[in-house]
């Protein structure tokens, strides 16, 4: 058992050296907060340690870690949102709360919608749109075919549209105004 754990630790160490920058930037692009991004990455490593019995195949580890980092980062966004709402409930403090600008509100709405997508679509939209990876890079990282990445991007963006349904009305209004 001790040997298995030592082996798995070595696998994780190698993966950290290979992927630390990718994982951090994935989290940072969502959170825009360095400390929180580090926490999200550390969460992924801790989870990988706990799931060592199940994660035997090193080639999938990077993909798995990337997905966990995305999920954890979006969870932290949701938590931040709840905290901010609590301050609004506390008597209008939101006017003075960090990040309460309209711009950040809109971004947060999209991130909260993104969190609701199915796992695969969520990962693809995050990597393609937020991280700016190409279709092939995304496919390689997630272990999917390029076609599947394309399908998941389409499905994910359509679901985001549905979740942000008032945006369609806005788009029509903008066009009519022109």
């Amino acid at each position: 058992m001790a040997r298995i754990e030592a082996d798995w630790h070595a696998v994780l160490a190698a993966e950290v050296r290979r992927s630390a920058r990718l994982l951090f930037r994935l989290a940072y692009n969502v959170l825009r907060d360095r400390a929180a991004a580090e926490d999200a990455c550390q969460h992924a490593l801790l989870k990988a340690w706990e799931e060592r019995e199940r994660l035997r195949d090193p080639p999938v580890l990077r993909s798995w870690l990337a997905r966990v980092v995305v999920n954890e980062s979006l969870r932290l966004v949701r938590r931040r949102n709840v905290e901010r709402k609590s301050l609004q409930l506390a008597g209008g403090a939101a006017r003075a709360v960090a990040g309460a600008s309209v711009e950040s509100d809109v971004r947060e709405s999209v991130l909260l919608a993104l969190e609701q997508l199915p796992e695969r679509s969520k990962a693809v939209v995050t990597l393609r749109v937020m991280q700016g990876l190409s279709g092939n890079e995304t496919a390689e990282l997630l272990g999917l075919s390029a076609g599947e990445v394309s399908r998941q991007l389409h499905a994910g963006m359509e679901q985001l549209r549905a979740l942000l349904d008032d945006w369609d009305a806005d788009a029509v209004m903008t066009r009519d105004d022109e």
Partner: protein, 332 residues
Amino acid sequence: MSCDEVRQVLLDGAGAGRSRGDVTAHLRQCGSCRAAGEVYARIRNVLQPTAHDGAVRDGAAEPVAGWDAFEQRLLASPRPNGARGGGRWIGVRGSLGLGLAASLLLGVVGFQVGRWYAGSPAPLASGGKNTDVHEPTQNPPPHARLAAADVTRQVRAFEEVSQVFDGRASWVMLSDDATDMGLAPQPLDRPQPALLMLRMTMLRENQIISQADLVIVTGESADLSVPIARGRTLRYQIDTTRDTPTRLNLWAEVLTPAGGEALGALATTLRAEPGRNVSAGSLTTTGGVYELQIDFAQGAATEVVPGEIVPGEVGPGGASRPAPPAAEMMGS
């Protein structure tokens, strides 16, 4: 071209063999695809790094203490001997050069020193369990730990609530499903009240069923409820002392949807040692056995000047750009 094909092209340029003219022609006569394209563009604009996010756009964002320390932190998290140093950078703020050694030291020592308070037992609840010695939790789920960023956010949230209510906030609770707070009748008489932070994680069969973060001024009491599955409520009543380390009397109970009947309860006394994660005991209902894990951190509120709260990255080393002091953490 079909609408699906056009939208695929709008999204990622797929659809080789189709001319730009085909897409344009379709868009000219299809309002639905035009609207979809506009929403796609808006989503992209919102999610992609902007001109204001130079660090993101240029890929220059770096961990607080640099890449080497970050990798060391990640490597220090899972260790073959079963101990862990997860999320515990609270105590090494400002000592970035310590790197791995500090992380390991905190992780290992944090689990080996100290005993839990074995003072006067609290009243024993009907159907409950009273444990007077609390050992560190062996394998707390990662979410059960309070990370540095959590602590900073909690303190800031408390400060902002306190500011709104003229310094009368005695506690603030935040969870994914509920928020609540307590107010003292008068402003608290200490200019910088000592704050205790608790992350209360309730598990059933090793699955987290509820998690709530509480920031409380030491010496104050809190009475809070958190919704859980099937319309039930988890109610906590907590009394704290002002001495150091703070001691808590804790009562936890699971209530029926009607809000009255207690299905099970737990009463215990704890000594709050920052940086420790302990099992506070378990309570049993007909639905199963619930285990309560508590993670502690400590801080001090600082004065927040109205109108000067600004967004900022706050990490183990504190605010990274000019911002009012949010948290002065006092060890872990």
